[in-house]
């Protein structure tokens, strides 16, 4: 598997990367390369230029300040998984990152690349949708902030414009009473999510005051399981109420459920509620 020829540029800053993108039509940003390099090797992509953003310092790291978690786009999955701060303030993200692929993939792959690539079987888009994250982009027309809910538009398509770079992701740290978890039915070969469910639960006095649940892997882009959220909100948090609410998920999957040789559409529909239930149960179990 040999990639077609391309020119390689290494950007030292976000603005340099943006300039290079504009100068080389069709150029691709290279982050961790875990999705882009396979595409090149399979000759499914043949950009004339590849712009490496891997050395841009500003794009790296996790900071928590004033109740907001800010994660640079070039932060690797391994860094997310190992972050003590994240485990404390947003366990669902650390947990999902820890379950991505294998150690080699986690050491190179980045949150920015994962999100920009928008593979429906990826884990992080689902998590960011449930977290109502904000995505920071920088492009020729300046900077803008996008909501995770509107960012993912379909199979491998996002709201990023042609010359825009995703720079960071902001997530509200869990306030008191909030907890979260990710449940994943991993493909035995690729490890991508066949079904991935992220749940963020806020409880007070044993009752659910708010629930945010997103389902991915089985749909072209992550969807909020609003029926589940509604069914749970205001309820006593018990095994029964969770199971009952989880069963509502079929209402939210729409008519574009994905299927493949490993897991058919029908099967995924049949077991989706089980994975919702598991995410909810774990999130509730984590509540302090």
């Amino acid at each position: 598997m040999y990639a077609p020829e391309f020119d390689y540029y290494r950007a030292g800053s976000v603005s340099e990367a943006a300039g290079l993108l504009r100068k080389h039509p069709g150029a691709k940003l290279l982050a961790g390369g875990q999705s882009l390099i396979p595409l090149l090797k399979l000759r499914l992509a043949a950009p004339a230029a590849v712009i490496d953003i891997g050395r841009i310092r500003d794009l790296k790291g996790i900071t928590v300040k004033d109740g907001t978690i800010r994660i640079g786009a070039m932060t690797t999955h391994a860094e997310l998984a190992a972050s003590a701060e994240l485990a404390e303030t947003c366990p669902v993200l650390a947990q999902a990152a820890a379950g991505i692929g294998d150690p080699a993939v986690r050491n190179r792959g980045t949150i920015g690349g994962n999100v920009a690539h928008a593979d429906p079987a990826s884990d992080l888009p689902t998590v960011l949708v449930a977290l109502e994250a904000r995505l920071m982009a920088e492009g020729p027309d300046g900077k803008r902030t996008l909501d995770a809910g509107g960012f993912f538009q379909g199979l491998m398509t996002t709201a990023l414009k042609e010359h825009e770079i995703l720079t960071a992701i902001e997530i509200p740290a869990h306030p008191k009473g909030q907890s979260s978890a990710y449940a994943k039915f991993a493909h035995p070969a690729s490890r991508y999510a066949v079904i991935g469910v992220a749940a963020v639960i806020t409880a007070s006095g044993g009752k659910c005051s708010s629930a945010r649940v997103a389902v991915g892997g089985m749909v072209p882009r992550p969807v909020r399981a609003s029926s589940v959220e509604r069914a749970l909100t205001g309820q006593e948090l018990s095994a029964e109420s969770i199971a009952k609410a989880a069963a509502q998920v079929t209402e939210n999957l729409g008519n574009e459920v994905l299927g493949d040789i490993f897991a058919s559409e029908q099967y995924r529909r049949s077991v989706a509620s089980v994975w919702v239930k598991r995410a909810l149960t774990q999130a509730v179990g984590r509540a302090k």
Partner: protein
């Protein structure tokens, strides 16, 4: 007192270079002037090539040459099949190195491009245009035999490559007498071996001398040389094959491949070294697959669980062409083992080898024997379920009683030694079988679904007596050779014809020499994998390297010892009959303090200043060992799996293996072989399987879709053993390379069925994916309603 090096679990000396990336594989070699070859492979499973145009590729930057099927005609002979199973009406269809008129599987080679860099060659490949007329394709071997199925080779009616039968005992009588008859359709799906190192070839042709050096990923360099000579016409004496480092094979690096010979063809044409290395994608399509059997099996038994007979009809997929050893695998290595460790009086199997539009099928770890074991172990469990007996009891009831020297089974084989009940007893005691069952019943009441599965096996390995090889149509011998050479300093080189490629014989063979003549194990280096330096041998497969090559080594080392004794007697001025030996020292009986060490003798033999009359200089010996019989390792395995009833997901919770490979040279290496083997068998039960669509497209064509076992889905393994020496082997060893794979698929599958049984599920297709288990539960529920 010295501790014996034989039997000690010293570290594998192979590992430092392997795990630090210091090993040099075929693809690591670069020669001056070397060019790179890439292959254009058919995207169709079955199509006529109407036109092929390589002119644009030839003109592309960096391209040195490009060739199609017409270019090689006359220069490369068709690929030979080397296992011509007799009395089977075998039809070897023409297998050209490059397809010219018709392509028969996705991956069939249609053109080769050679360029200065692999990138340029890959670019040029995109410039070749082929005009295909697609033809209907068929993959499933049973369907391929149906009238009206697409005809894959002209003259091969119903795609039947061969029809082979084995019978022993009165089968009709057994089935007439039976109280119960159990029937089952068994599908042992097609698997893709996926050795860590992809296949690679580097051909260096010297036009001036007419000599060819071929670096090649092969388990058997001497066979590779032989077959290369047959196909390319380069005489064997001028052909050197180097395969000193091979990154796993599992059977897929036994056969010769067209790509190897196309590389040679290009090197000769261009008079430049040519290298070809397959990509992982190519490996999935173009390197041989394993298994692929559809079987209808019947078992006859009495109502108290005594098995009277087994009969089976097997449709065995061969893929588009007959790979080197393919016909022997579902026949000789499978059908003859159909009574396994059991005393079953009547056996019959009809095996149809079927051409299909899949990748050619070859040996895959276990090769034929896992399939035989699976049939038996499945049927025994079904019988137990039907009679409401415990599966362990049914096995105990049917085992061949313990024997130490020969037991003939209905198919005609004579097993060497066995204690099948002993292995199962050890297993059952180790796991606390009764308690395990009790625990399982309690868990079930709480809604936890555990399944316990047992599998017992005997395998045929240590292939084998060459006379038998000839009688069963194998186009070669099956002996092995070793040369033991003592250097003046007392250090030893051993040259062997077999070619370990991960199994650890560089370590265990040094242990054998150390044990036989008392040299330090670190003073012995094993040389293999280069036909120019090693003696002829038939290769590493079929768990035969230690069983056969190890025996050759023992015999050669014993010759050394005899000669050393004669020299020592001379130096000590004693009669040879009065000499004694212990731990590397030769001395006159009763005077161990005045001894000559093996190192003293090596020095004297090499300088030859003072040799006994009539004794040649040097301390070197060779042996060509042709075994009198096969060896028959055996064992009993147990798996505990857990079913998640909500999703159908199955996890292996516990795995216990009891294997008997005779005396163990190195128990750590034995354990490693069992681990790897067991994992590959679990892979077949739960995760692995080649899936093609109705057009013959391989859907599991990469590691994104083809699920190889991963460490984090596996439990720790408990590996135990019993020791029953082979009576005919000089040090009693039997072979352990394939045992794990042979036993584990059935153990896990039986455990899966056990876990699913409360839902009324009796059978399920492999691999048992969550969806399959989930659907089976739903269907069984619906059926019962």
């Amino acid at each position: 007192m010295s501790t014996r090096v034989f039997g000690s679990g010293i570290r594998r000396r192979e590992d430092p270079r392997l795990i630090t990336g210091a090993a040099t594989y075929t693809d690591d070699y670069t020669l001056p002037g070397m060019v790179h070859m890439v292959l254009l492979r058919s995207p169709h499973a079955h199509a006529r090539i109407k036109r092929i145009d390589i002119s644009r590729a030839k003109a592309a930057p960096g391209v040195v040459a490009a060739f199609t099927g017409s270019d090689i005609e006359g220069a490369l002979n068709p690929m030979p099949c080397a296992w011509l199973v007799p009395n089977s009406n075998l039809k070897v269809a023409p297998y050209p190195c490059i397809a010219k008129d018709v392509v028969r599987y996705v991956g069939d080679i249609v053109a080769a491009v050679v360029a200065e860099t692999p990138y340029q060659a890959a670019d040029a490949l995109d410039l070749i245009t082929v005009d295909y007329q697609p033809l209907p394709a068929v993959i499933d071997p049973e369907k391929a035999k149906q009238p009206g199925a697409p005809q894959i080779h002209s003259g091969v009616e119903n795609n039947v490559a061969f029809h082979w039968t084995v019978t022993g005992g009165d089968v009709d009588g057994a089935f007439k007498k039976a109280d119960v008859i159990i029937k089952e359709r068994i599908v042992q799906q097609r698997l893709i071996p996926n050795a860590m190192e992809p296949r690679s070839t580097l051909a260096h042709w010297s036009g001036a001398s007419g000599e060819l050096t071929l670096w090649n990923t092969t388990q058997n360099p001497h066979i590779a040389r032989f077959l290369c000579s047959v196909v390319t016409g380069v005489p064997e004496d001028k052909l050197r094959v180097i395969a000193t480092e091979v990154g796993g094979g599992f059977g897929s690096k036994i056969p010769a491949y067209p790509a190897d010979f196309i590389t040679v063809f290009c090197a000769k044409k261009l008079n430049r070294p040519v290298k070809w290395t397959e990509s992982r994608r190519e490996n999935f399509q173009g390197t041989t697959h394993g298994r692929d059997h559809v079987q209808d099996v019947e078992l006859a038994a009495t109502k108290d669980g005594k098995v009277l007979g087994v009969k089976a009809t097997s449709y065995s997929g061969m893929g588009a062409y007959l790979s080197t050893a393919a016909p022997g695998i579902p026949t000789i290595l499978h059908g003859l083992m159909l009574s396994g460790p059991y005393d079953i009086a009547a056996i019959k199997e009809d095996v149809y080898g079927i051409y299909s539009n899949g990748t050619p099928v070859e040996a895959y770890r276990g090769a034929g024997r896992p399939e035989a074991t699976f049939i038996l172990e499945r049927m025994i469990d079904k019988l137990a379920a039907k009679l409401r007996m415990d599966p362990v009891d049914v096995r105990m009831k049917n085992f061949i009683p313990k024997f130490e020297n020969g037991h003939t089974v209905p198919t005609g084989l004579s097993y060497d030694s066995g204690d099948y009940a002993g292995a199962l007893k050890k297993l059952v005691e180790h796991v606390g079988y009764k308690d395990l069952r009790r625990q399982q019943a309690e868990d079930r009441k709480k809604g936890r679904y555990l399944g316990v599965g047992v599998s017992t096996y005997v395998e045929i390995c240590g292939l084998g007596p060459s006379q038998v090889a000839g009688a069963v149509g194998f186009q070669g011998g099956l002996w092995e050779s070793a040369i033991v050479r003592f250097h003046p300093t007392g250090k030893v080189n051993v040259f062997i014809g077999a070619n370990p490629h991960g199994q650890g014989e560089e370590t265990t063979f040094a242990q054998i020499v150390a044990d036989e003549v008392g040299v330090d194990v670190n003073d012995v280096k094993i040389v293999h994998g280069d036909t120019q330096t090693t003696p002829m041998g038939w290769g590493t497969y079929g768990s035969r390297t230690t069983a056969v090559g190890g025996a050759a080594l023992v015999m050669a080392t014993r010759k050394i010892k005899e000669k050393a004794k004669v020299i020592a007697a001379h130096l000590l001025e004693a009669a040879v009959e009065d000499m004694d030996y212990k731990d590397g020292k030769f001395f006159v009986k009763g005077s161990p303090d005045k001894a000559k060490t093996i190192q003293d003798i090596a020095l004297m033999a090499n300088v030859a200043w003072n040799m006994p009359a009539g004794v040649e200089a040097g301390l070197e010996a060779s042996s060509f060992y042709d075994p009198p019989n096969f060896t028959y390792p055996f064992g009993a395995h147990l798996a505990v799996v857990e079913l998640d009833p909500e999703t159908g997901q199955i996890d292996v919770r516990r795995y216990v293996a009891v294997d008997d490979c005779g005396p163990q040279i190195n128990p750590v290496i034995v354990e490693g072989q069992v681990h790897g083997g067991v994992v590959q068998g679990i892979g077949q039960a739960l995760w692995e399987g080649a899936v093609y669509d109705e057009n013959g497209q391989l859907l599991t064509g990469s590691m994104l879709d083809y699920a190889l076992p991963r460490a984090d889905r596996l439990p720790d393994m408990e590996v135990l053993s019993t020791v029953t020496p082979s009576p005919h082997h000089p040090i009693g060893v039997k072979g352990i390379g394939e045992a794990g794979t042979i036993a584990s698929t059935a153990a896990v599958y039986n455990a899966v069925i056990d876990a699913l049984s409360p839902f009324g599920v009796e059978t399920i297709r492999m691999p048992v994916t969550p969806e399959r288990a989930f659907n089976a539960i739903q269907e069984a529920k619906a059926g019962r309603r």
